[in-house]
Amino acid sequence: MVQYVAARLDASFSALADATRRGVLEELERGEASITELANRFQMTLTGMKKHVAVLEEAGLVKTEKVGRVRTCRLGADGLAAEAAWIERYRRRWALRFDELDKVVEDLKREEEANGRT
């Protein structure tokens, strides 16, 4: 079960690595929208938006349904989108910190090397 959830979350992380796709989820949090509406909102071609939605659907974050000629998108039903979004924020928080920690570590390394030489 944990494995299964983890595998799905991995797909979610990839899906959320893109700013447009995060934006699409944000839009869908407010309510369902058609692919055309999403494409307009993000000033993107229909083809481009279809690709983004396909990635989100693959990851289970979004569900789509075609009624007539309109494909409507809504959030996946099980809260996965919310959890994945939270974990991605959590990851970015740590990534941000660790980028800074990297700089401190580099400074310490340089200091040590300088001291070693004298």
């Binding site: 983890a6 944000e26 919310a82 959590y90 920690l101 310490l108 390394k109």
Partner: protein
């Protein structure tokens, strides 16, 4: 993207939900563990990276007694009236490989945080684990913050800036 790989490439931060009640973050640093440990355990170094200055959320106080049984207290905010404190105790400090601490500001449902520094060919594999007392507490930490998602999503960068 393989979140299960416990040896990420240098510079990449990977998060895994390891179990119902545990979140794990890994990252490789290009320096031996003693150096990464030093950057983590000396307050004047720690405060440079924990909430980076560029983000504009001042760290008003940073007291750290990094030894087994020692206490820490971090206080963020613009002034005393608008500040937030994080505090707890170090349950285990083993230089240069391991630090375990409590997060007491969050009450009974708080996670226990463990960071380990493992040598890998002269580099350091850093593994940070947040272990919650129950699945419910872990879910709550995740879903609780996700509840206000639309606004939070809007302010993704601002939230990141605040360190939450």
């Amino acid at each position: 993207m393989d979140g299960h790989n416990d040896a990420p490439e240098t510079g990449r931060t990977v998060v895994t939900r390891k179990s119902d009640r545990e979140l794990v973050v890994t990252r490789i640093f290009d320096a031996p563990p003693r150096i990464v440990f030093e950057a983590w355990s000396r307050a004047e170094l720690f405060r440079r990276w924990w909430v980076p200055e560029t983000l504009g959320v001042p760290l008003r106080a940073c007291e750290m007694d990094v030894r087994t049984g020692g206490a820490y207290r971090l206080e963020f905010g613009l002034d005393a009236a608008n500040s937030m404190a994080f505090f707890g105790r170090y349950l285990e400090v083993t230089p240069p490989s391991r630090i375990v601490w409590t997060n007491e500001e969050s009450g009974d449902d708080a996670a226990l945080t463990t960071v380990t520094f493992e040598e890998r060919d002269g580099q350091t594999l850093l593994t940070l684990s947040e272990l919650y007392p129950s699945k419910e507490a872990c879910d709550e930490a995740i879903q609780g913050s996700a509840a206000g998602l639309p606004e939070q999503f809007n302010q993704l960068d601002a939230l990141l800036a605040a360190g939450f």
